[in-house]
Amino acid sequence: MTNTLKMRNNNKPKLFNIINGTLLILFSLITIYPMFYVLIGAFSHGDAYSAGGAWLFPRQFTLSNFIVILSDDMLWYAFRNTIMKTVIGTGLSLIFTSIVAYAMSRKKLKFRKTIRAISLFTMFFSGGLIPYFVLINYMGLYDNFLVYIIPSLYSVYNMIILSSFFAGIPNDLHEAAEIDGASEFYIYRKIYMPLAKPALATIALWSAVGHWNSYFSTMIYSNAGKKMITLQYYLMGVINQANYTIGDNISPGIIEEVTSTTVSYAAIIIATIPILLIYPFLQKYFTFGIQEGASKG
């Protein structure tokens, strides 16, 4: 009797495991295939690709698509601006957000509840796009590189995550430092910040990916000239443009091998490489960050 029961219990899960495993493998393939698909196109000869059917291997392997896109000056301006805004924006926002987060994690902070309410309210209610647009114009930030930096100096969401991390650091450390005469800012900088490295890394990575992937600010708050163009905005132009205008510094032999479609694939790959490079770090930290975020809302 007990034997048959065991048998049943053993058989069922096995079947379930097989189905489950297959399903998950299939799904993984679906999520990764789109990247693979453009990679193939990016290495294909333009006209050969147009015939269709290039799904697993490039058609007439060529590097011409990359040569064409990499010799576009605008791409390099976009790269420069995007790197600048990502590095400066992330760095400064980390400093400001962590300072506020530290103060908010201290129970002794006066008006703590009021400040918390003021902060939370902004997450759920906003003036909307047009009043914000007025503000940006009024502050002279329109078509100004600082529009990428200043409005994102501080984030309430990140503040909450960081502050719940700070609140989890044993108070004994704070008390000891206080007795030694350390000021709050000193404690923040020399004790709490070093301890919060994993939390800071998480937020830095999220913020960096956000900066890297955004195109809204470029589209709305700038004329997208050389000083302002960002990578995603540039890429959107290349993808939407039916006829990508190829620079005159490219040799005819290379131009023959490309179409605007395959060039746009090469552009997609190039814009994605940096994300691919930091993905291992993202993976290391995202579980941490999201848990912190969940526990405190």
Partner: protein
């Protein structure tokens, strides 16, 4: 500096306001000042919604040099058939999202949680999360490429599954298929990332509970249904609340990228409509009114959903 603080320590006890308090206040004050400028000041800009500021050349003139017109702008968009279509698209897609896109990551997490092989689990997770970090320009660009009727792979897959025929390829970027495209592409991009939070909640569940259930003869599904699901319920509640409060917002990035002239009737949603009327057509007051409507509705939905959740499960968002 440090020494003087030690000496003062005792004396300062009697005083109400210490140097420490001042320090903490300026640190927190940075955030408050930032929010006053970048969040509360624009809220004052909502007066634009009650003014006659459409078609001004300069948005600053629109707010400072125009006269009040009461609720005219609100009446204008309510009577606008275009707005009604946009609202229906927005609500329709978000409700479908609530039914499909919301539970999908939970299901995915449950399946992933059943994997015994840690390494396999990690690989599946890494692969499925990756698209989340791609921008919608990249991901949308890839979808547009795959939807191409001659070179794309979406059509061959559809023949394989029995939709359409080789001679009449389907253009999935047209209005008819747009909603399906949005839901499916959103799932492929977001399901892995969406499941992280639930998996995290699942790994926190005490193994002892499962062992006890096994002794009582519970099978795999019984354990899932009676232990895993109830224990991740608080997480689900929070996310469903946020989802409900976002009933009027869509991912601008996703929609703007996948829109084209042939699918606008089904693809125009509030966020893209606001961009087009406000920034491109310069109907500043009309759009400010729309934005105000969106914000207020979202806020009411959140408060409503939150109070219901508090009554039902005793837990809302941001209950510290």
């Amino acid at each position: 500096m440090n020494e003087s603080l030690i000496n003062k320590n005792g004396k300062y006890k009697s005083k109400k306001f210490k140097y420490r308090d001042f320090e903490l206040l300026w640190m927190a004050g940075i955030g408050v000042i930032f929010l006053l400028i970048f969040a509360y000041l624009p809220m004052g800009g909502i007066i634009l919604a009650f003014k006659d500021g459409d078609n001004q050349l300069n948005v600053l003139n629109a707010i400072f040099k125009t006269k009040f017109v009461g609720f005219t702008n609100f009446m204008n968009f309510i009577r606008d058939q275009r707005f009604v279509d946009v609202l229906l698209n927005t609500l329709g897609l978000n409700i479908i999202g609530l039914v499909i896109t919301f539970p999908a990551p939970i299901l995915f997490a449950l399946l992933l949680n059943e994997l015994k092989n840690k390494r396999f689990k990690k690989v599946v997770q890494s692969v499925s999360i990756f698209p989340h970090f791609l921008s919608w320009v990249v991901f949308g660009g890839i979808i547009i490429a795959m939807a191409d009727m001659t070179t794309g792979i979406i059509n061959p897959i559809m023949y394989f599954l029995g939709f359409g025929s080789r001679d009449n390829p389907i253009n999935v970027l047209t209005a008819e298929y747009f909603w399906t495209l949005v839901i499916v592409s959103g799932l492929v991009k977001g399901i892995g990332w969406g499941s992280v939070i639930y998996l995290a909640a699942m790994t926190a569940i005490d193994r002892v509970l499962y062992e006890a259930a096994e002794i009582d003869g519970a099978g795999r599904f019984a354990k899932m249904l009676h232990i895993t699901v109830p224990l991740i319920m608080p997480t689900i509640t929070i996310y469903i609340l946020l989802q409900i409060s976002n009933l009027l917002s869509n991912s601008f990035k996703q929609f703007y990228m996948l829109q084209n002239a042939t699918n606008l009737s089904r693809s125009e949603v509030l966020s893209t409509y606001i961009y087009k009327t406000g920034i491109i057509q310069r109907r500043y007051s009309y759009t400010a009114a729309l934005g105000f409507f969106e914000s207020v509705t979202g806020f009411i939905l959140l408060i409503g959903a939150n109070s219901i959740a508090k009554k039902v499960s005793g837990r809302g968002i941001y209950s510290e």
